[in-house]
Symmetry: C2
Subunit: 124 residues, 2 copies
């Protein structure tokens, strides 16, 4: 998040992703209708390209070390409505229409617990 104000990367119209030392960008997906944060993941160059090319969110799975099309197993894909990039181009925000629950637990969002007084409480 520390960026040079005169850097074309943050003022220009050229897509120049700034991948970290592992070749990754952060990626957050919100529900285009509710605005709720559904999931946070990572993208490598291939995932970013596939997301742009297909209109469906693709990530890089750090545990499986490979391209991950969200919903490839469950069918609960995330159709991209809009994709934004941040000032220093190391993070992506996707507004999406989810085909079903985003979380593998069956929850609408992966963020179903609030941190309160050092413990977790279920939302809703």
């Amino acid at each position: 998040m520390t960026c040079d104000k005169n850097d074309d990367r943050e003022t220009g119209s050229t897509l120049k992703p700034k991948y970290d030392s592992n070749g990754l960008l952060s990626a957050v997906v919100t529900d285009d209708s509710s605005g709720e944060v559904l999931v946070i993941a990572f993208m490598d160059a291939q995932a970013l390209q596939m997301s742009q090319d297909t209109g469906v969110a693709h990530f890089y799975s750090r545990s499986r070390k490979k391209l991950w099309k969200k919903g490839e197993t469950s069918g609960n894909i995330l159709s991209i409505v809009e994709m934004r990039i941040d000032c220093d181009q190391d993070a992506v925000w996707i507004k999406a229409k989810p085909a079903g629950p985003t979380c593998h637990t069956g929850a609408t969002s992966c963020f179903y617990r609030v941190i309160k007084n050092g413990a977790l409480e279920m939302v809703e």
Copy 2:
């Protein structure tokens, strides 16, 4: 995001953050009023603790390699309304009231450009 369904980490009420190999969690901040994504950053254990203790968002700056109180220089702090954690406890979602523009560029949000046909377009 690949988690064991029977893991207490994802069903329980105990805060057990799953830091990555660099000791970090992903963190996204949305504006509690507008729902807009303001910034994506990282938290280490200290930043998470400070955020809980003070009610103001703290992160870990990967470039400066130290604790980063958002707004420490600009005054544009992020007052935490609610903090959530995701299924496998490696990502945090903060809903906040920003004291001013979140981006160092002066923009309300760091996500002021849309990716369109491989290039960037300003929002608004």
